[in-house]
């Protein structure tokens, strides 16, 4: 009876994409560990980009820094 929590940045994942994630994670647990789908919970959290940090920066700032300056 697994419990899976998926956290992703909120950037437009559709309900159809989320359904694919739910199906895919559940299938994986069935295949690898022989778990029952009926007792496999998957909870998806979409996190605002200003609430997700990496490299010491909010994620959009981090990506901008990686992309580098557009110097003239």
């Amino acid at each position: 009876m697994p419990y899976v929590n998926l956290k992703i940045t909120r950037e437009g994942a559709t309900a159809a994409k989320k359904a694919e994630l739910i199906a895919g994670v559940t299938d994986l647990l069935v295949r690898v560990l022989n778990k029952s789908p009926a007792t496999t919970f998957v909870v998806i959290d979409e996190v605002e980009t200003e609430d997700w940090g990496v490299g010491g920066l909010p994620v959009l700032d981090y990506r901008a820094r990686l992309a580098g300056p557009t110097t003239g």
Copy 2:
């Protein structure tokens, strides 16, 4: 000093119902483990139904499948 996280699908739990959950979980920890209410935190997360999967499906689809087809 317990920390409790309650995740439920977002389906209209009122503030009053949530207050009952907070009181009930706290009382339980006091009664069973002699914890202090002042250092017992309870955090409730309401999860959109499209973000909650069970049986490999988003929960509303799963419930519909359990309820069965209305065949003609």
Copy 3:
């Protein structure tokens, strides 16, 4: 189909006490929100006291500070 995570310091909670917590939280969700026990998961985490901080201190140091010095 709720998911509940209870975090407590590891200080000797027995399996019987944990079973009481599991039963109590589940009953609460049935009573307050009419949830089904069969799809209510409860996961208990026991956390080492050196891994639990409050008041800026590991919890045992914090309790000792609250208890105060035994000055002579």
Copy 4:
């Protein structure tokens, strides 16, 4: 940059099985949401069976109840 937490009961999942879970979840996020593997974290928690409740019971008791009494 997703973060995935997989909670399963501690019942002998090998390091090889865990590696399959890590690979499978990461592939899924790449395929469905075009995420980068290098910024996809997967954390697996194995939970003692006495710490996992379902149906208001510790999971081994719950399974035993579902299996039914072996009456004579």
Copy 5:
């Protein structure tokens, strides 16, 4: 490669304050444990006050009780 989850009540933390938290936690992990910023994730959850309990009460009720009655 640490993962940090900060839960706070939703009471007006600005994006700038959140960026300070992200920078501060990341710096701390670099300084204390020599972790790499590029693989340090920080996720902030803002929790509605009606969803946060302490002392057996939703947090605003708890604070009001601590502040005491304004008796006449």
Copy 6:
């Protein structure tokens, strides 16, 4: 009344290092958001390296791959 969860790989963090993390995170929340230390919880989880995945691999394999083959 924040709640902070720090997840790190289990690689020998001492109790003294953990105490530094607890103090540092708490100070940060006091400084940035004016939170009270007495109601700031910090929970540290040390995760076995075989339970932590990144880049689709258990973390030690991932680091080895990044370090590259020592070909002759």
